[in-house]
């Protein structure tokens, strides 16, 4: 492929013999390089405009005697991914941090430190992230010699929160159990009067060991776990996983499968976006919007149940295809529901944008600056509301997205209102996509048997969920089972930008800012 050759030439001219390059699957470039070269390569890739979308590690001591890190960069213009791997010897458990040059690496590196015990040398903030303060030092759950059901003792705390101190500064701790029906996280606001000057978020409360749980399982056995990493983005995660497995096993699914997946992916986006547009009203106490949003969302969820048997679209996907078909009757029902939804949603949106008390609270609130969104690699509607023109569906088409036409809305303001508007526009686009797909459903086999997978081969699957890009990394072990699985959800990269949007706003605005990002905790904590 010519598009990859240019990048290969550029990399070879910089690193010569020091880098091994191989084309893999249909849209990946696998690089191997010495760990000390990684900061130089990262800067080059950054300057060429390839964002870091994932960074993770694998304990391959049983196989090669080394740990290995995998850095995934995306070339959005030419639709391919660059996966750089570096080996880390057991005698030297550290690697050079790239956070100072590629800020998006900051959480990944801390997580690798906590879960694998590899030290990111030069990282500006080495406090624990993925394990909590009462986790004993020297225990690393994702190493292969850590047994899954080990009962970990609790130790004395070693964590400190970032706080601003001084005259008149108050500390307001909130959570992990919140007042509403939401997931658990702990926030520490440093505020003067009502105005927030610093926010520190503490997460990973819902860490359930989902990645480790899949290790040693066949792709099919691990699948119900994948579907339960996140409730509201269940199908998107499932599709990312299927993509990676299908790449590894050289399985090509039929066009019909791709079409069905696209319909379901868009239904998932619809129920989330419609629900979120309503739910954001709850953050400003505008019950009219909340209730109508909830009602319309319920209509879509009932449609999901009638057509696919599950309100959260579970049990449809499977590695190698889909387990459910869409009949002509189903198709008619979907179209009729969407017609009604479109009318009602339009009416709701008109009323919302015409209500001064609502507009007053969402305009200029919680601004995410374009530069921060880019540096920390924010994704999804949150990034598009801050002028970042990225959408996996267009830039790295999967399922049937190259067979439909749709617009990617982008706004520059970066406030709550812009995030709402991106969702509104995308709702109409989703309805359109589904209409286009259902109008031209091709025939095809629903399930393909998976081919043989090469041991220790790895692949990346990527989809655009309602919250943004979900990236799944899978490495296969020697007996056709999963060796390492890493889920990088949209929330994982969007969480770190939130603290930057809050200072300068008042504490009562935090709920609406938070809701406008609609972040999920369970797929971040895993």
């Amino acid at each position: 492929m010519i598009r990859q050759d240019r990048v290969i030439a550029m990399i070879s001219s910089c690193f010569g013999e020091g880098v091994i390059i191989a084309k893999a699957h249909f849209n990946e470039l696998h690089l191997e390089i010495d760990k000390n070269e990684i900061p130089i390569l990262a800067v080059k890739l950054r300057d060429w405009g390839f964002p870091l979308i994932q960074l993770t590690a694998a304990d391959e001591r049983g196989n090669t005697g080394h740990f290995r890190l995998f850095y995934t960069f995306a070339n959005d213009l030419e639709n391919f991914l660059i996966v750089v791997s570096v080996s880390i010897a057991e005698t030297e458990l550290s690697f050079p941090s790239i956070t100072e040059v590629v800020p998006a690496a900051h959480w990944y590196e801390r997580e690798i430190q906590d879960l694998f015990g590899l030290d990111p040398i030069g990282h500006p903030d080495k406090r624990c992230l993925a394990v909590h303060e009462d986790w004993p030092e020297g225990l690393y759950p994702l190493r292969k010699d850590f047994s899954f059901d080990f009962e970990v003792p609790r130790t004395e705390g070693r964590q400190s929160y970032d706080r601003v101190e001084g005259e008149g500064v108050m500390q307001v701790p909130v959570g992990p159990i919140h007042a509403g029906i939401i997931e658990p996280g702990h926030f520490l606001f440093s505020a003067v009067g009502d105005t927030v000057i610093n926010l520190e978020a503490r997460l990973f409360f819902t860490h359930r060991g989902m990645e480790k749980l899949t290790e040693g399982k066949t792709p099919l056995d691990a699948f119900p776990i994948v579907e339960r990493i996140c409730g509201a983005c269940s199908f998107s995660h499932a599709t990312s996983y299927c993509q990676a497995i299908e790449k590894l096993s050289g399985t090509e699914v039929s066009t019909r499968v791709n079409y069905i997946r696209t319909v379901v992916l868009e239904l998932e986006r619809l129920y989330n976006h419609v629900g979120d547009v309503g739910n954001i009203c709850a953050g400003v106490g505008f019950a009219f919007g909340t209730m109508h949003g909830a009602r319309l969302k319920e209509d879509i969820m009932r449609l999901n149940e009638t057509v696919f048997g599950s309100r959260f679209l579970r049990g449809i996907n499977t590695p190698g295809g889909v387990r459910r078909d869409i009949s002509v009757l189903d198709s008619d029902l979907i179209l009729a529901t969407l017609d009604k939804l479109e009318l009602e949603f339009r009416e709701l949106v008109e009323i919302l944008l015409d209500t001064n008390s609502y507009m007053d609270r969402v305009q200029t609130t919680g601004i995410l600056f374009n530069q921060i969104a880019r540096d920390l690699h924010a994704v999804g509607p949150a990034a598009r509301a801050s002028g970042v023109d990225r959408d996996v569906r267009r830039d790295h088409p999967y399922a049937a997205y190259n067979c439909v036409s749709f617009k990617v809305p982008v706004y520059e303001q970066g406030d709550v209102l812009a995030r709402v508007k991106v969702r509104i526009d995308e709702t109409y686009e989703s309805i359109n996509i589904i209409r286009q797909i259902l109008a031209s459903m091709p025939n095809g086999k629903l399930i393909q048997t998976l081919g043989e997978m090469i041991p220790y081969n790895y692949a990346v699957g990527m989809t655009e969920s309602a919250r943004g890009e979900n990236v799944h990394f899978i490495m296969i072990g020697k007996d056709q089972t999963i060796y390492r699985y890493m889920v990088r959800s949209a929330s994982y990269v969007n969480w770190p930008v939130i603290p930057s949007t809050v200072p300068g706003n008042i504490i009562p605005d935090f709920p609406v800012i938070n809701k406008s990002f609609e972040l999920c905790y369970s797929c971040l904590d895993r």
Partner: protein
Amino acid sequence: MLRLFRKSLKTGTVTTDYPQTPSVPGTGFQGLPVWQVQSCVQCGQCADICPTKAIKLQSGKKEAFWIVDPKKCIFCGYCVEVCTRAIVQGEQYEFVESVDRAPQVQAFKHSVHIRHLDSGSCNACDWEMTTLTGPVYDIQRMGFDFVASPRHADVLMVTGPVTRNLEIAVHKTFAATPAPKIVLAVGTCACSGGICGKSYASSGGVNNIIPVDVFIPGCPPRPQALIQGLLKAVGRA
């Protein structure tokens, strides 16, 4: 403003009257698998494939060879697919189970206040609880409401298997809830650990941490099942 009222009037009432009118999910619903004794050849494939070990086989017993525990089943349908002869996907979703501890129901005859406690769920169970407060299920019509603090609550609805990082928060929330109190385990994770099981990160079910009075299985339970669980908890069903 006028438009706002007009819209609300035009929409009318959308609230269901469940449980007065039962709600039957359509065909194809991913419900609890049903075993048909006559066609079973006792091969045991179903138990092998079940990801949560929800199926128990008792060899030698023809009539009750097969038992599925709803508190463990995640409705994945794998057993139905592996066994085309004797297992079909059922439509049943209301299997609330309550521990007979003669709860102090008298105290909860009228309005009941609920506190949600997320102990590590995947958020699907939480979203279904949120729908209970929406216009369609509207549990306020039955005298239930969610409150912001455990100190104001009669009932704790716990989702998730209780992760290591939330165990202390669960203990504290339970202690902060004034007696008499009822604990509901919502979802398969909360009932038995579900897909998360018991591990370094998960304690394998709420009952291992605090005493549970009512179990509401489902992954996630339908909103109607949640209503049934609540009614049962206060002795109204």
